[in-house]
């Protein structure tokens, strides 16, 4: 009976930590996707001959964190702009062909927003590049968003982790309190502390590992079926598949199970051994 209750508490705490872990993993996966929403448009100086475009492109592509680079001719740019203005962009027709005031450009996407500014400046500083236009405003919003989410995520992990371990240690204490008579009798009969301790530690380990196994199954089910279905309905972001995350989850659970079950009971039995 008491084992059931202990396992329940342990499973619950692991579930909290596991959920926080999965949450953090998904948030960072999601943020990675969000990071794609950026672009630097680098306008090529008119003096650069077209033959050099290829090597220029290669040089930009070689920069740190450049995820994608796409060449856009000035004609295409004008068409795009016209399309954006709709019917009323007809007046732009006057600028087509040789009259086109726009320039050929590269549209660059950055993989790591932290390097966005650096890349933008590097590209801007290239001789062949006339000037750049970037979405620094949006990038700034995304950057702060990411920082906030990450810091919150880490703190939530830490708080939940600490709190869970605290809960477990107190639960073990209460459970051990149930055994105080048993322990004191063993001592009266001449058992050494080591002799008394190891069955408790073994039991703790067993409970810990059992809890880890139960929790792993539960976490898998909730994640794949409950959350998975929910997100499928959302139709925007997909969850990171469990198969990619389970080594981490398994390591966390078994780690907690072993440490808490084994060391936890060893630590909390001490009080009754010393008595």
């Amino acid at each position: 009976m008491m084992t059931t209750a202990s396992v329940s508490v342990l499973v619950a705490c692991m579930l909290i930590i596991g959920t926080a872990f999965l949450f953090a993993q998904n948030v960072s996966a999601f943020m990675a996707k969000i990071e794609q929403q950026n672009e630097i448009v680098a306008f090529i100086d008119e003096k650069v001959p077209e033959e050099e475009y290829q090597s220029l492109k290669a040089r930009i592509e070689a920069l740190d964190s450049v995820a994608e680079i796409r060449f856009v001719t000035k004609d295409q740019a004008l068409l795009d702009y016209r399309a954006q203005l709709g019917e009323d962009g007809a007046y732009l027709d006057a600028f087509s062909g040789e009259e086109n005031p726009l320039r050929n450009s590269f549209v660059i996407t950055i993989s790591d927003l932290d390097n966005f500014k650096k890349v933008s400046e590097t590209v801007s500083g290239m001789e062949e590049i006339d000037h750049v236009r970037d979405t620094q405003d949006i990038v700034n919003v995304l950057l702060s968003l990411r920082n906030v989410v990450q810091i919150l995520g880490i703190w939530i992990m830490i708080i939940l982790g600490v709190v869970s371990l605290f809960i477990i240690s107190n639960t073990i204490k209460i459970a051990m309190h149930n055994r105080r008579h048993e322990i004191s009798i063993m001592k009266y009969i001449g058992a050494t502390n080591r002799f008394i301790r190891w069955p408790f530690v073994l039991e703790g380990l067993f409970i810990g590992i059992l809890s880890a196994a139960v929790c792993f199954g539960l976490q898998w089910y909730i994640y794949t079926y409950v959350m998975g279905r929910l997100f499928a309905a959302l139709n925007f972001v997909s969850l990171v598949p469990f198969s990619q995350l389970y080594p981490g989850i398994a390591a966390i659970f078994v780690g907690i199970g072993v440490i808490v079950g084994g060391f936890g009971s060893a630590a909390s039995i001490r009080k009754y051994l010393d008595a």
Binding site: H181, E182, I185, M186, K187, Y188, I189, G190, A191, T192, F195
Partner: protein
């Protein structure tokens, strides 16, 4: 050998349980300890097994100096004695067999020996049929005999029995006392705390009489208790 030299015990709540107790019990002796309820008999046993320390005075048990010994030695002191506790102190989560086997397991006795020794001792106290039962499923007297079996099983140098016959009928009480007497004859020191006047008178052994935490008489034979409190 057991030596008490001017031992005082004051419990944290202020009760003076022992007020200068001195006696010496040689190896192989058989001693009754008698006295009113609350005279300090069980307290002496607590001191003997280092369940608690005396407030003052010297105690030496089987070569262990109770005041000066290190904590880690306590289990080894306790293994030299088999104690029948007044409140039995059986482990609730273990069967009778496991309870009796416990002192053997503590000293690392092999399973084979345990499987032979435990049933033998349970037979002596007539509890073979309850080996698989838990303490809760035993009658009062059966629990007492299980506690006795546990005290005997390890062939300790001293056997201390605190009221070992309080819950059994006179015939069985006499049997138990004869058993202890047998064991004593083979060299084991036996200390029996009891209120059973008949037994004390029948067995004609050394009797230490306590009153208010003092030894008021220490002589062979006869149960002496003052009628007035």
């Amino acid at each position: 050998m057991i030596v008490f030299d001017d031992v005082y015990k004051k419990y944290p709540n202020g009760t003076n349980a022992l007020n200068g107790v001195s006696f010496k019990i040689d190896d192989g002796e058989f001693v009754f300890v008698v006295g009113h309820s609350g005279a300090g008999k069980s307290t002496i046993i607590k001191m003997l097994m280092h369940e608690d320390k005396p407030t003052y005075g010297e105690i030496n048990v089987n070569g262990f100096d109770i005041n000066k010994m290190r904590k880690r030695k306590i289990p080894f002191l306790r293994r030299t004695m088999g104690v029948v506790f007044q409140d039995f102190r059986l482990i609730e989560t273990m069967t009778v067999f496991e309870n009796v086997a416990f002192p053997l397991r503590v000293v690392g006795t092999s399973r084979r020996v345990i499987r032979r020794r435990v049933p033998y001792v349970l037979g002596i106290v007539r509890l073979s049929h309850k080996a698989k039962n838990y303490p809760k499923e035993l009658s009062g007297g059966e629990q007492q005999r299980a506690a006795l079996a546990r005290a005997l099983v390890n062939n300790p140098r001293i056997i201390i029995a605190d009221e070992p016959t309080g819950n059994v009928d006179p015939v069985m009480a006499k049997e138990i006392m004869e058993l202890l007497s047998e064991i004593n004859k083979m060299g084991t020191t036996v200390i029996v705390v009891t209120h059973d006047k008949d037994l004390v008178n029948t067995f004609n052994k050394r009797v230490i009489t306590l009153e208010d935490g003092k030894v008021i008489s220490d002589q062979t034979g006869g149960y002496i208790i003052h009628e007035e409190f």
